[in-house]
Symmetry: C2
Subunit: 126 residues, 2 copies
C-alpha cells in the first residue's frame, strides 16, 4: 500500500518507532518497524514491531498481555521515523517491569537508574 | 568518558535521540547522536546531533536560533536510544517551520498533513 512505500525505510528495511502514552505523554519505548509491522499495526490498531534480536515480528504484549492499543500513528518530515500514541495495557511497557524503558538519567557523567521496577520482570517480558 | 561507552552505538557509531518538549510532553523530532554529539550535549546542556546527510556535527539552532536547551538526558533499558527533555527556543523544532516534525497522521491508508507551518521554513532551517 502507498503509505508503506512513502516511509523511507533504512538499508535494513526498518524505521524507528516511538511509543508514547496517549494520556500522560510519557515516552514509553523506542522499537523498530518494517513494512509488515507497520501494516499490521495500522490494520489491527495495536503495536506490532520488528524484533532485531529475534529477526521476527513482535506483537507487543503477546506473552505479557501488555498490549499497546494505538490511537494515532504519525510520520516525521523526512518520513523515516514513526510515533505511536498508545494506550498501554497494564501501564508497563518495559521488559524490566517499568512503565518506560527510559529509566536511566544522566547525572554528571553517570547514568543513574531513577525508577524501580513495578513488577517482577519475568512476569511481563514481551 | 564512561557514560559514552555505556551507550550501545550502532554499526555507524550512532544512536537515535528523541527530543521531547519538557513542558508539553510533545515529541518534537528524532535525530541521531554519535559519541561526540552526546558528549557536547551533556557538557553544553543544549542539543547537538550528528547529521547523517551532512556527516557533520549539528548544533541544533546554530543557524535558526532555535536552540534546544536540555533539562534531562535519559537512556533506555538496552542502552541504544536516548531521550532529551528540552526547552525549545522559538517553539519550532522542525525545519519545515512546525513545532514538531511529526505532523503527518495516518488516516486509513494515507499520511495526511495535519499541521500548517508556523513560519516560513527558509527562515528557520537548522
Amino acid at each position: 500500500m502507498d503509505f508503506l512505500e512513502q516511509v523511507k525505510w533504512n538499508s535494513d528495511g526498518l524505521a524507528p518507532a516511538i511509543a508514547q502514552d496517549a494520556e500522560t505523554g510519557r515516552i514509553l519505548m523506542l522499537a523498530w518497524m518494517n513494512r509488515e509491522a507497520l501494516a499490521l499495526s495500522a490494520k489491527e490498531q495495536r503495536a506490532v514491531y520488528w524484533s532485531r534480536s529475534r529477526q521476527a515480528l513482535w506483537r507487543k504484549g503477546e506473552s505479557s498481555g501488555h498490549v499497546q492499543h494505538i490511537r494515532e500513528i504519525r510520520l516525521d518530515c523526512d518520513a523515516d521515523a514513526i510515533v505511536l500514541q498508545v494506550e498501554q495495557v497494564g501501564g508497563i511497557a518495559c521488559h524490566t517491569g517499568r512503565e518506560s524503558c527510559f529509566y536511566q538519567r544522566l547525572e554528571g557523567d553517570r547514568w543513574v537508574t531513577v525508577e524501580a521496577p513495578r513488577k517482577d520482570a519475568r512476569e511481563i517480558y514481551g
